[in-house]
Symmetry: C2
Subunit: 185 residues, 2 copies
Amino acid sequence: MGQELPITSYALLGLLTFGDELTGYELKRRADATLRFYWVSPAMSQVYSELARLTELGLVARVGEDPGAGRGARYGITETGRKELRTWMSTTPAGFAVLKHPVALRLLLGHVVDPATTKGMLRDHLVALDEERAALDEVRKSLEGADGPGEAFRYPSLVADWGLDYFANERRMIEELLRRLEEQT
Amino acid sequence: MGQELPITSYALLGLLTFGDELTGYELKRRADATLRFYWVSPAMSQVYSELARLTELGLVARVGEDPGAGRGARYGITETGRKELRTWMSTTPAGFAVLKHPVALRLLLGHVVDPATTKGMLRDHLVALDEERAALDEVRKSLEGADGPGEAFRYPSLVADWGLDYFANERRMIEELLRRLEEQT
DNA sequence: ACAGCCATGTAACTCGTTACATGATTAC
DNA sequence: GTAATCATGTAACGAGTTACATGGCTGT
């Protein structure tokens, strides 16, 4: 226990706790679909190397047909993996969020360019924001029906609601910033 | 132009556009004070290596006394640097924010541990959130007096207001999540 | 027949971190 | 005098990326 794995490893391990076994490819798709809103979705190549490491550590095991090459092999979390994940979650502090927000960074440096550039950037951001919100909205909808207390997607739906609230608030704030920037000129 | 520098380099370069010249140490402190809310604040050692690279590229220049060893040398942005930063900001798309939120990740995996653990984590997060907000509040206050349109700290104060709004909203949402988790037991 | 997706991996590389080393100046 | 802060760097390392290589399967 306590192999000091990076958080991304635990994240991938955690994606295998929803009752099914996945190929590396499918795990990547699941990460792209849900994890990417709260964590970085690792590159395809990293998914495979993480799976190799987790297998090595016995936290994950390949299941099903194993015809030599290992094409189409599925991976599932082991009892050891489940225990390790539980220990990590309940004994190590979560730590604070790290944000890399290029729009905020550029707004901070707004005095370097002309105001129209900054306003254009904020408007572009509104579009991007709407696209992301729409994608998360799809995810949220797909969880309906199993999102009640005690049901399978209870926690994923709580996080999705949090994410949707975040997007809504950011949209509101960007619009206010645009209004404030319009005031002068 | 277009040396394809990482965003962090532009961020540090940007911190040198506020009318003063800084030592590496001071630059790190400025990054810790303001940049860290919207971007990662690089490690001390990286600040020095970035300054070396930016100097090499002529985007930054050491000014003042240069007594051999270079102790206490200050760096300032050059005309070339200013131009490069402006070009970067007005011609390359900002890109979407990347969030690494350990609390959201753990909430997503809430079914792995018992509810009390998750609730405890959220309550701890409220405390951390308040500390961060207080720190940003200090920053915001220090900008007062030069935060009007056309003034020196106009843009930094806009970003700070955005950050404060973000913290307020997150606090509200975590409280709602706690309420929702309480509803069951 | 060809495009597009499913599927797995290696190699080279950059970013960024921690640990370590060193020493000057300032405050108490 | 000694602790804290100012100040600068090197070295080793790990996380994570992009580019590249390879090939099967499916639909049209």
